[in-house]
Symmetry: C2
Subunit: 102 residues, 2 copies
DNA sequence: TTTTACTTGACAGAATTTGTCAAATGTAAA
DNA sequence: TTTACATTTGACAAATTCTGTCAAGTAAAA
C-alpha cells in the first residue's frame, strides 16, 4: 500500500518535474518537499491541494489518502482500532446531522 | 450523543466525587479536570486510564470513546468524511498485517 | 456571611511544528 | 576524474501548540 509521499514522488517523477519546481509552486523549500515525499514531514492541507493541481491528480482523492493515512497511523497500534473507527463513523453522522440544523 | 467530558462528569457526580478528589488521583490540577469535563482541554491517554479506574468504568470503552471523538471532530467538516474512515480501515488492516510479520 | 465546589483567564515553560540554509551525498554526463 | 545538477541531511531559529500552575471570580448551600 502506497503512502501519500510515495504517491507524490511517483507522480512527480512520471511528469519529469524537479523537487525545486514543485516546491516553488507550493511555496515551500525543496528540503521540505523532499521530506514530505519520504514521509519525514507531514504536508499541510494547502500543500496537498497544490500538489494535486500541479501533479494533475484529483484533489479529493489525495486529501482522502492523506487524512486516512494520518488516522491509520494514529490508531494502528491499538488493538481496538476498528472499534474506534466504527464509533467515529457514528459520531460523524451525529455531528453532520447537527450541522444541518444550524 | 455524549462527549467524553459529559460521560466523565456524569459518572463522577453519580459517585459523589469532587473535582479535587478525582484530579488528585489523576495527579493534575482540578482546573484541568474541570476543563476536560467541559471539553475545553483534551485528556491525555494516562488521564483516561486513571479516570476509568477511579470512576469504575471500562478503560477500553473510555479510550474508544475518547479516540473516536478526536477523529470525528477532526473530519466531521469534510464532506468526504466517511470515505476517509473507510480508507483508514483498509490502511489499519494493512499496517496490522505488517506488524505481525516483524 | 461563611464555606464549599467549581470556573475562568492570565501566565510560564515544555514540546512540537514549520521553515531556512548550507553542507553532504549521489549520479550521470563530459 | 572532473563537473554539474538533483536530492538529502542535519543544525538551527521562529512560531505555534500543549501542559500545567495559580489565584481571583462565580454560585449556591449552610
Amino acid at each position: 500500500m502506497e503512502t501519500v509521499g510515495q504517491t507524490i514522488r511517483a507522480k512527480r517523477e512520471s511528469l519529469g518535474l524537479l523537487l525545486r519546481q514543485v516546491a516553488s509552486y507550493l511555496d515551500i523549500d525543496q528540503a521540505i518537499l523532499s521530506k514530505i515525499e519520504r514521509n519525514e514531514r507531514k504536508p499541510s492541507r494547502d500543500n496537498i491541494i497544490k500538489l494535486a493541481e500541479i501533479l494533475q491528480m484529483d484533489g479529493e482523492d489525495l486529501l482522502i489518502q492523506f487524512m486516512s493515512e494520518k488516522i491509520a497511523l494514529e490508531i494502528a497500534n491499538e488493538h481496538c482500532a476498528s472499534k474506534v473507527l466504527k464509533a467515529a463513523e457514528q459520531k460523524v453522522k451525529y455531528l453532520k446531522s447537527n450541522l444541518e440544523k444550524n
